[in-house]
Symmetry: C2
Subunit: 181 residues, 2 copies
């Protein structure tokens, strides 16, 4: 339980059994975001380790990462850069494939959005196996930008994603953990 700011974020995350399939408990942050104190607490706790860090851009991953990423960029007074699913960005992009349980997906960022000398903070709602986050980090590094840290509201440590990122030298910041998935 995390009571920084006196607000217990984990209590406001809704657990939905057997979604999207039997045996999986889905952690739904919409109930956290809909609460004004919840949104504020999530943004405050995502940014506090970085308040004195030099950051140029906050990067969010489509789609839930856009909600928190937009709010975090606004709170820090920085620009926001979206990483989107394949074919959604209108300008020249660089992209990276990543594996899903069945098949392959692709994320992209505008080729001129970040580059050499830029210091970026990656924000998303949740880290599970870390497939999407890992692809996002590879994209950021390919662009020449420096990844300062990756920040997530929820960590599912049993799925190993946060650990995998740390082993690649990424500073990972998470707010709440749920076990057993």
């Amino acid at each position: 339980m995390d009571l920084r700011n006196g607000f217990d974020i984990s209590r406001y995350i809704r657990s939905i059994p057997d979604y999207p399939k039997k045996g999986i408990i889905f952690r739904d942050i919409t109930t956290l975001l809909a609460n004004p104190h919840g949104l504020r607490a999530a943004v405050d706790e995502l940014v506090w380790p970085f308040l004195k860090t030099d950051i140029d851009y906050v990067i969010g991953i489509e789609a839930r990462g856009f909600i928190l990423g937009g709010a975090v960029a606004h709170e820090l007074g920085k620009g926001f850069v979206p990483i989107r699913k394949k074919g959604k960005l209108p300008w020249k992009v660089i992209g990276r494939d990543y594996e899903l349980e069945y098949g392959v997906d692709r994320i992209e960022v505008h080729a001129d959005a970040i580059g050499e000398g830029d210091r970026v903070l990656l924000v998303d709602d949740l880290i599970a196996t870390g497939g999407t986050a890992d692809a996002a980090i590879e994209l950021i590094r390919e662009s020449g930008a420096e990844l300062i840290a990756a920040a997530f509201v929820i960590d599912l440590p049993d799925l190993g994603g946060a650990q995998k990122l740390r082993e690649k030298g990424v500073k990972v910041h998470t707010l709440v953990e749920f076990e057993g998935e």
Copy 2:
């Protein structure tokens, strides 16, 4: 040209000719959002008419509406509620079909997210023909909530969406206009 706050938002929107198809000029807000002064100016101008208005929730439409919606909710100190594409929300939903150029799409909101007595502000990046915004407004009204206003960064007035919403009694707030599409 709008120079409130001394920042000309329109200059930071990238115009991409012949995207997504020949003859269309796509207005790309990623260049605005990536600029820290641009993101700040867009959020400030979206919220200023509502600073003294009683609002419970900011609602954003997937996916670009999440970036500004999250930042606007955070700025106003309110909760954020997402309207998502069909099948993306994990809990019980209400939904609404809307017509595309070819075919039909559907947006959904959690059935317990907003209801009777809630006062909501809808935020999206752009209003063109208004098909998605109109469906979102129907959803909000179906939920029993009260729509205070709909706020967009970009209006394409030649496509008539903002006018259509105003004729339905919606207060529409837009920041910049582009003509000729």
